[in-house]
Point group: C2
Chain length 315, copies 2
């Protein structure tokens, strides 16, 4: 049972236009609505935990359609016998992340299931967001001539979880990038025009940009040397043979901007603590909906959609 199979089962049955569109948030009337279940294991990791991640993931899904969170809801499926200390720590993290994102929990639900019926804790968060007047962001709006930028180094979250799970031994600098992107995105939208925003979570930059290229029917041309990857992330990727461009981030975004907005965007991001290593990594050209990578060696190759998931339960 893969996510692809699930989609093929759901879409014909439930598939409203909105689900088919595949944006990170849908529209419930004039409000953005997003939902994500978090099943990450281990639930605690350098740079965060399942509570922190669950809030960041959902406010980021709202941010990717240009929405500011107006309120969050959280539902917990907890295995009987789970330590109260763990739960308290995750709840503290959720509170902290909500404050950073400028929002709060307005609804919650808890279900306790018998031992063995769930792996410790699954946390589902949903968020409602307000899109500022005049803002229209979509994966389908990238256009030839646009610039592609990334808000920071890629792959940290995925490499951190993978390293923990495989017992690779963590580089001291390796930690999840999970963070709420509400502020940097709001600053960017105030400063310049933006066509597309996406956070490269499952399948990393490779999957996300392939989805954008397909939705916009264009070719995205990337410069591999320009894509920031931390040495610790690269080391983990080399060890396990996974492309860092397929590694999940949980606190980065990709932005596609019209020509002429690049300089202002980079200035704004430089002033955002989370985005100090933002970089222009490519441009949009004419094409059939694919992603081409100019490698460090100067060759050009298709950057394909990742096949399946390298690692389930990364978020």
């Amino acid at each position: 049972m893969t996510s692809e199979l699930v989609e093929s089962l759901f879409l014909p049955r439930l598939g409203t236009e909105q689900l088919r569109a595949g944006e990170d948030s849908g529209m419930a009337g004039d409000r953005a609505l997003s939902i994500d279940s978090f099943t990450v294991t281990p639930q605690d990791f350098p740079g965060g935990d399942i509570g922190w991640l669950a809030v960041c993931g959902t406010v980021n899904d709202l941010a990717m359609v240009g929405a500011r969170p107006a309120g969050l809801a959280a539902a917990f499926v907890l295995e009987e016998g789970l330590a109260g200390d763990d739960l308290a720590r995750w709840a503290d993290s959720m509170g902290h992340a909500c404050r950073e994102a400028g929002t709060e929990l307005v609804a919650a639900d808890t279900k306790v299931v018998e031992r063995g019926a769930a792996d410790r804790a699954f946390v589902t968060t949903a968020g409602v967001g307000v899109i500022p007047k005049g803002v229209r962001i979509s994966a389908a709006l990238a256009a030839p001539g646009d610039t592609v930028l990334v808000s920071g180094p890629v792959g940290d979250h995925g490499a951190t979880i993978l390293s923990l799970r495989e017992g690779l031994g963590l580089d001291a600098d390796l930690k999840s990038d999970a963070a709420p992107l509400v502020e940097p995105v709001a600053a960017l939208l105030r400063a310049c025009e933006v066509h597309t925003l996406r956070d490269p979570t499952r399948g990393g930059l490779a999957q996300t940009l392939n989805e954008v290229a397909a939705a916009s029917r264009c070719r995205i041309e990337l410069d591999e040397a320009a894509i920031p990857v931390r040495p610790g992330v690269r080391a983990v990727c080399d060890l396990v043979g996974i492309d860092p461009l397929e590694m999940a981030c949980e606190g980065r975004f990709l932005a596609v901007l019209p020509k002429g907005h690049q300089r202002r965007a980079m200035e704004v991001l430089a002033s955002q603590p989370l985005c100090r290593s933002a970089a222009v990594i490519g441009r949009v050209g004419e094409g059939p909906g694919d992603v081409v990578l100019r490698t460090r060696a100067g060759a050009r190759r298709l950057l394909a959609m990742p096949l399946g998931e390298h690692l389930p339960r990364i978020c």
Copy 2:
């Protein structure tokens, strides 16, 4: 680990005023927002399945603050190896329930976890709702002199799941009452003033009315003989020794109305297919926040808050 313990851990850490208030939906800005995880087992039961229940539960939580659903989101945690046929059937049920409730899924997420990490399927739904102008419904608004009514027979959902789980053998008429309450509630709100709406899910009518009495600091006086309970439900309850008033419903609501609105309310409910057996079951008096039951025998006793959950994973 009980729900009470979880609350005692969460509320000080995450507890906004809204979570403390304990309404079925919170307010995200000017929109209602609700969330619920569904872990019911078995996932298929007479009268519904986990997909049907997940949509009904969330649109009903919106209805209980007077909101009409503007859009739903669903997140699935699925155990590897789950049969595609099961998933397809549940998705069909969700689509059906959405149509009955006059709404649609606008966002979805799926996580597949390894075999043994979840018990087949957990479904979490969140809903955004719009509260009509002038409508203000809250558990804290019941006032002395008000009338209490229930929209139909109580305990069918709980008795059905219990009967299946305990292998009691199902009465042919016994099936879950799970249903979307969007239409009857909208009709009621158009026709008369309503102070409080609650659906008696976990802990049944006993828990729900104790919560209302506590939030409103009043005494709710019930007439046991007036509370509709189907014979099949009563038979299951007698067999296992659980009060039908503590059995969960998933398609009924309790309404507290100001004096003088009772007749109009009963007329409206009589025209709603789901509410043909609606009944006036009591009144609100002065009191410290408790529920008093006048029994069939004419005695009066406190109807206490149920202690713990008789049966986890009922929804």
